[in-house]
């Protein structure tokens, strides 16, 4: 075996005193070889990003600092380098790409100038010609036009390509990618993963790839290191870790990844229709200024869907497809411009303001971000009881009901007196679910309810939702970008693309025989789609 490019031995990184554990990373060992992609995977707080930061010398010192171990790269221990030596190394020998390309790029500088700056800062010759070459190498369309573009002119995927071009400008031997595709849509993600793969093998680089997504791991990794609480619990080839995990934690994580095989579902053709949306349209207009033309965006065009009692309809699509707009129109957080929203045969669009109140009780919503959806200054009990109190339930009764609901979502009823910040993301999402259930709704609108959660927590919350839905015979509109989740949760799926529903059908049918080209493209782009399909289910 050849000498590794980077060798990490016994690395320990201290956290500031008073943190929930003494070390962010504890005594980890791994090697990164040339022409190899090593995936560091773990849930939030596992220390994977700090490990990457340590390799780049970007730890937020002095509050977080490495206290033991060695990082050997080209015969030198990186931990003993001075800031000046680090600068020589960064960019030239070690390239890095970040999760959010919008914040990593300077918004007021042309992208071509930003790449040029990287070259000039390291005294590299080539100038604009080399920049064009790099833009070509990352498959950006029309590099000539991009020369004059600012970051906000580009899409998320294009920005990430620019970041990759910058990271590769000086031909580093190691590329560190910290969740580079997490902020991207699934089809864009597939393209970026393919690009990283291609560049990696062309240049024989070693890539340290940080991710939380096992689908991405299955797509891109050669070797996998699984991290938990700052330790590497399992390290092995992709095949070994994904197909025959040894450590309990790895097994648990992998089992929590939803499979793409929709389970068989009982048909609901006879159940009465709860919600029927016909020809729903919503157009956003931004007023033009003196020098700005008016902008008109059709967020939803002629959307027609229906949900039967006890049924879960999945609304899937990429960001900007209008799926959230449709959800918010139905719950009347925003007013739609066209169409009918018939709830038990009554058009909700005919009501406004307080006339809507009787329906508020019957249609409820679960929000995406468990940190933003609970008022930080209200106690958990008050949050859950607020709905019933608004509908005239005496506060004492509402509070008793809140305790019952906490039990229903598997939380200890004594937490009614605590504030939301004392809970983890998954627990907060349970509180959010309890709040939605407090009014005993018939229809739940769940807007990406698990996309902010770690995969193992995600599985628990999905189980809870499925269980509650069955017990209370609820109907649900489940909005998600994650087709794996949709496959597991939904009876039927509607695919949205640019404000329109392009395909709608039973989950099993749609996943097996997609008819619309966009649906096929979406299904093809799912990372790790060949992993854990029928054979493993």
């Amino acid at each position: 075996m050849t000498e590794p490019l980077l060798s990490v031995r016994g690395l320990t990184i201290d956290l500031p005193p008073g943190s929930d554990r003494p070390h962010a990373v504890e005594n980890i060992d791994f090697d990164l070889h040339a022409n190899e992609i090593l995936c560091l995977v773990g849930e939030s707080g596992s220390g994977k990003s700090l490990t990457a930061a340590a390799v780049m010398g970007l730890l937020p010192q002095p509050s977080v600092k490495p206290s033991a171990g060695e990082l050997t790269f080209e015969g030198r221990n990186l931990l003993s380098l001075s800031e000046g030596e680090w600068r020589q190394l960064r960019g030239r020998r070690l390239g890095m790409i970040f999760q959010e390309p919008m914040t990593a790029l300077n918004p007021v500088m042309r992208v071509s100038d930003q790449i040029l700056e990287v070259l000039q800062a390291h005294g590299e010759a080539g100038g604009m010609g080399r920049v064009m070459e790099l833009l070509n190498a990352v498959n950006l369309p029309d590099p000539e036009r991009l020369r004059a573009a600012y970051p906000h002119h580009l899409s998320g995927g294009q920005r990430q390509r620019v970041m990759i071009a910058m990271a590769l400008a000086l031909r580093p031997t190691i590329l560190i990618a910290d969740e580079p595709t997490t902020a991207l849509d699934v089809t864009t993600q597939a393209q970026i993963l393919a690009l990283i793969r291609q560049l990696q093998s062309e240049r024989q680089m070693g890539v340290l790839f940080i991710t939380h997504d096992f689908g991405v791991v299955a797509e891109i990794a050669d070797k996998v290191a699984v991290m938990q609480h700052g330790r590497i619990v399992e390290l092995g080839s992709k095949h070994q870790v994904l197909e025959a995990p040894r450590h309990e934690y790895t097994k648990r994580l992998i089992a929590a990844v939803p499979t793409l095989d929709p389970p068989d579902r009982r048909p609901l053709d006879r159940a009465p229709t709860v919600l029927s949306v016909k020809g729903l349209g919503k157009t956003y207009k931004t007023a033009g200024g003196l020098f700005r033309p008016k902008r008109i965006v059709d967020a939803a065009k002629n959307v027609t869907l229906s949900i039967r009692k006890g049924e879960t309809l999945g609304l899937v699509g990429e960001s900007g497809s209008g799926k959230t707009t449709v959800g918010r129109c139905i719950i009347r957080l925003i007013d739609s411009d066209k169409g009918r929203i018939d709830f038990h045969g009554v058009d909700l669009n005919a009501f406004k303001g307080s006339a809507l109140k009787p329906y508020r009780k019957r249609v409820q919503m679960i929000f995406q971000d468990p940190f933003a959806s609970l008022n930080p200054r209200h106690k958990v009990g008050d949050i859950i009881a607020a709905g019933p109190i608004a509908f005239g339930t005496p506060p004492a009764d509402a509070m008793k009901r809140a305790q019952d609901l906490l039990q229903l979502v598997d939380l200890d009823p004594v937490v009614v007196d605590r504030y939301p910040h004392e809970f983890s993301g998954g627990q907060r999402q349970r509180i959010g679910i309890a709040r939605a259930l407090a009014l005993q709704p018939e229809l739940l609108i769940a807007d990406e309810p698990v996309s902010a959660l770690d995969v193992s927590v995600q599985a628990q919350v999905l189980d809870l939702l499925a269980d509650i839905k069955r017990r209370l015979n609820l109907s649900m509109l489940f909005i998600t970008h994650d087709l794996r989740v949709a496959a597991q949760v939904c009876d039927r799926v509607a695919v949205m693309y640019q404000g329109e529903i392009v395909e709608q059908g039973s989950t099993a049918e749609l996943f097996r025989h997609p008819t619309h080209p966009y649906t096929r493209k979406l299904l093809d782009a799912i990372p790790g789609k060949h992993w854990r399909t029928r054979a493993h289910a």
Binding site: L333, A386, F391, R435, A438
Partner: protein, 278 residues
Amino acid sequence: MRDFWQRYRRNKGAVVGLGLLIFVVLVAIAAPIIFPASPWEMAGAPFQRPFGEYPLGTDMLGRNVLSGIVHGARVSLMVGIISTIVAVALGLTFGALAGYFGGIVDDALMRFTEFFQTIPSFVFAIVLVAIFRPTIYSIVAAIAVVSWPPVARLVRGEFLSLRRREFVQAAVVIGESHLKIILTQILPNALSPVIVMASLMIASAILLESALSFLGLGDPNMMSWGYMIGASRSVIRNAWWMSTFPGIAILVTVLALNLVGEGLSDAMNPRLARKGRA
């Protein structure tokens, strides 16, 4: 609450400021006990130098300067606090309505606010006091009227951003009324920058009142620091103490309020605090 005090205490200047402020407040409360006689009354011979019979000397009518300062603290603090309360109440109402409802309501209220902001505040205050005769009420009202627009703009900004938060949307979805959402969901989250601003506004209100009194637009029945400085400006070359000590009183009070304001700001936004300060 204990956490809050812990964070506040980290800013040493703010602790000193709080100490000074408490001292000024105690003096103001205890004024009739320390100097039972009216500060307007002659106490001794005029033009007595300080550190003699009277610690801070006497003025041209033989009134005790220290007694004036102690009683003036009552007027200054009262004007500062009451006018700030009125201004904050106005600003909260306008800002909250504009930020919460947006659209036409926002446009109408903000144009109305800008109408007040276009007039330089001190000139506006002079005009108001001159029109309504200088009494303590008209002074408080004038200061409140000229100082609410910044509060309204601040509150509006907070409401605009909080309005879009998911927890507010959740409150809409569970059927809470607009009033309840404004008061219980958004307002508590928007309050901390307002409290910080209010503490600084008390300081500027005290300065405004002093400036009005200096120009002779103070309440003629109220001994205030600004009045003392204004009255003694003609004799400043042969009786420096008459204007200097009230000036120091203003300086100390305003400085204390600013320090407290900064400490409150640090304590309420712990993540922003301590940056650039070691």
